[in-house]
């Protein structure tokens, strides 16, 4: 089915971004925000319309033009929307719109508001290109584009060198993953060419997937997964995401929690037909996902920066998604992506509201007792926190529970994977409520001057919070055990995931009870330790290790950054002047030496030339005569 509706989803934000770049400063800050929000809202309406048009096994197509034509390869700028795309589009434009709306309040005092909204709209453009792309090449355009926007927005307040450093870190770490992605794409194209289908269209890939050699499939999917670890912040490339919190908080909510970082999960879901061919890769994904979930969860426990806790929490939740993808439950992974987008965006926006109220303070040790001063923020934060902790009937309960069920019961699952996920669920509840109690309960630890002007945020900021909080509850009801509309919707795209295939009977009720139980234990522990006043001394070697994030940054610094810098320095100081410049200068010197002797021929005396001319004439003459 073709339609020319799809193109407007990315084009509207792009148009608004262009307008804001050129005229944003002239039309006023207020207008920049309204224009940007309106564009994303327009996209959201179109996405809704697309969603209405779709049925689970239908695909909408919209071809703009042929981008690359090099027989036999052909790549088009062409969009497709199937059930999976529709879900992603609604998340991107729907939550994106709420965050734009929030930003009009949050960024109202900032000088660069027009620039901010231009970047944000550009991001929505690239992200929707990413999910709408009907071939891998266009997908890669979106993939790189969102990375660029992430870089621009992390370093948005570029006057502070720390922010630009964080932006660079994000960009460089992502580049490692993107390189693997590119290699994977090239290898895939090579293999497709060998099979006589020189194409990177998803439809063609899906048709030919079964014929791809198993070893090659493992290699391709491994490379794609490395790309996904970069974008979606998994071990070993997760280190950029916590630092990315240097950007404005709405950016953290939109890019570094709800949408961009889920691109890796979307990639595995989109290419699920490839990944299922490579059981080795799948089990690696499950292990990495579970390890990341636990690892980041433990770090989140010991952070004092309100946004860093959420950042590590995001890394941890992304780990859950990969755990689900790794056991073949792509539908559960996308479901958690969907619910996580609501409650994590809500948490980030709530954190932004707190930071806004505290005049820029991000250290939770200097907060406390904000419950009565910021009621709307508190209640939405509490709801989203419950969702993150996985307490029924919130959305997080349904999605996390489904992942843990699959981790145990799916054909690729195991008890160990479930156990790691289960412990992480407890940790999640603990760090979430540690944060909640530190920020909103107890008595305020802020200086008097800050306390004096603590105020609830304007309606532009609280309305998105309330909507997202409602979503954090209701989003999970799409997959009620009694009436599941989620799996049937995505089944045609993602395949069937059925825990019953495991053969052994699974006591679902017991698993659910265990999961909720450990979450409640986590909350209770947080209440006991932090509920009224902080009752625990946060020190000791274990705490220090956690607070210092297991010294991973230092380790990477030692293992990669320093040797790399040293090598670069050597190249710049010794190799480049000595060998590169030396070779160039040497060639120049050699030519000069040869020409110095040749130059003597040129006396400049016209009689010498005439003499040479005479000799030449005579020689030609003699040659003619003797021929």
């Amino acid at each position: 089915m073709t339609t020319n509706l799809l193109r407007w989803i990315p084009l509207l934000p792009l148009a608004a971004a262009v307008l804001n770049v050129f005229f944003g400063g002239r039309w006023g800050k207020r207008f920049a925000g309204i224009l940007a929000s309106a564009a994303v809202f327009g996209s959201f309406l179109i996405a809704l319309r697309v969603f209405m048009l779709l049925s689970p096994d239908a695909v909408l197509r919209d071809t703009l033009y042929t981008w690359i034509e090099s027989e036999p390869f052909k790549a088009q700028v062409s969009f497709q929307a199937d059930a999976l795309t529709a879900v992603m589009l609604l998340v991107i434009t729907g939550i994106g719109f709420l965050i734009h709306l929030y930003s009009t309040g949050y960024m109202a005092h900032d000088e660069g508001e027009a620039r901010f909204f231009a970047y944000l709209n550009l991001f929505v453009f690239f992200m929707s290109v990413l999910v709408l792309a009907d071939n891998l090449l266009l997908f890669f355009v979106g993939w790189e584009g969102v990375g660029l926007c992430s870089f621009l927005l992390i370093g948005f307040w570029y006057e502070d060198p720390a922010n630009t450093t964080a932006g660079n870190k994000a960009f460089i770490v992502n580049r490692i993953g993107d390189f693997a992605f590119l290699l994977g794409m090239l290898l895939l194209f090579w293999e497709m060419n060998r099979l006589g289908v020189p194409s990177l269209d998803f439809a063609a890939l899906k048709d030919a997937a079964a014929r791809i050699a198993p070893d090659t499939a493992v290699l391709i999917t491994l490379l794609f997964f490395i790309g996904a670890t970069g974008k979606s912040a998994q071990i070993p490339l997760y280190v950029w995401l916590p630092d990315a919190m240097a950007g404005p908080t709405p950016v953290s909510a939109l890019i570094h929690a709800a949408t961009m970082v889920t691109a890796g999960v979307y990639l595995t879901a989109r290419l699920n037909f490839l990944f299922v061919l490579a059981p080795y890769t799948l089990s690696l994904i499950a292990i990495i996902g579970a390890a990341t979930a636990l690892f980041a969860g433990t770090i989140a426990v010991a952070q004092n920066d309100i946004k860093r806790v959420l950042a590590y929490s995001t890394v941890s939740q992304l780990g859950y998604m990969f755990l689900a993808a790794g056991v073949g439950a792509f539908s559960a992974a996308v479901f958690h992506l969907f619910t996580h987008a609501f409650f994590k965006a809500c948490l980030f926006l709530g954190a932004g509201s707190v930071i806004h109220a505290m005049g820029g303070e991000q250290d939770m040790r200097k907060m406390g007792g904000l419950r009565r001063r910021l009621p709307a923020t508190y209640w939405t934060y509490l709801i989203a926190g419950l969702a993150l902790a996985g307490i029924p009937p919130t959305a997080g309960f349904f999605s996390k529970d489904r992942i843990l069920l699959e981790a145990y019961a799916s054909p690729h699952g195991s008890l160990a994977l479930w156990l790691v996920g289960w412990i992480t669920a407890g940790l999640t509840a603990f760090y979430m409520f540690r944060q909640l109690f530190l920020v909103f309960h107890g008595t305020s630890r802020a200086p008097e001057s800050v306390q004096a002007h603590v105020h609830e945020s304007p309606a532009a900021m609280t309305i998105p919070l309330i909507v997202l909080a409602l979503g954090s509850i209701a989003a999970g009801w799409l997959a009620l055990p009694s009436r599941d509309v989620w799996d049937p919707w995505l089944q045609a795209v993602l395949g069937r995931s059925n825990p019953a295939e495991h053969g052994e009977a699974v006591n679902e009720t017991l698993l659910v009870a265990l999961t909720v139980g450990i979450a409640l234990v986590g909350i209770a522990a947080a209440y006991f330790l932090y509920g009224r006043e902080r009752r625990v001394r946060e020190d000791g070697p274990l705490w220090g290790t956690l607070a210092q994030k297991y010294y991973i940054d230092e380790l990477y610094d030692f293992l990669f950054v320093r040797p790399f810098t040293a090598a670069a320095n050597w190249l710049a100081r010794a190799f480049d002047p000595g060998i590169i410049d030396g070779a160039v200068n040497g060639v120049a010197g050699l030519v000069r030496g040869i020409s110095a002797s040749g130059r003597r021929l040129q006396s400049g005396n016209v009689q010498h030339y005439l003499f040479a001319f005479l000799i030449g004439t005579i020689l030609i003459f003699v040659y003619w005569l003797r021929r």
Partner: protein, 101 residues
């Protein structure tokens, strides 16, 4: 009684050789110009001789052209020599090597 053509050709070759030698050897631009005239006239002599012996008028026609060109060449050459002399106070070709690096 008519001299054989070889006499004319030998004389012409000798004159031409003197002209070449003058151009290559002499250190005075004016003399070099004169030597060039000598070479041109040696060629003229050859043309006339062949014209006469073959009973054709074409050789004589070409000689007129050569004389015209020689006159123009002398004018341009002397003009250059004068301006060079004004500029450098010398007529020695060895000193005229401004374009040499």
């Amino acid at each position: 009684m008519q001299a054989p053509i070889e006499y004319y050709l030998v004389l012409s070759a000798v004159l031409f050789a003197i002209g070449v030698a003058g151009v290559v050897i002499r250190r005075d631009v004016i003399v070099i110009l004169m030597s060039i005239e000598l070479m041109l006239n040696a060629v003229n002599l050859t043309f006339i001789a062949f014209s006469r012996f073959m009973g054709s008028v074409e050789g004589q026609v070409i000689v007129f052209f050569v004389m015209t060109v020689a006159a123009a060449e002398a004018v341009v050459g002397l003009a250059i020599v004068i301006s060079v002399f004004r500029f450098r106070q010398t007529l020695d070709p060895r000193d005229m090597q401004l374009l040499k690096w």
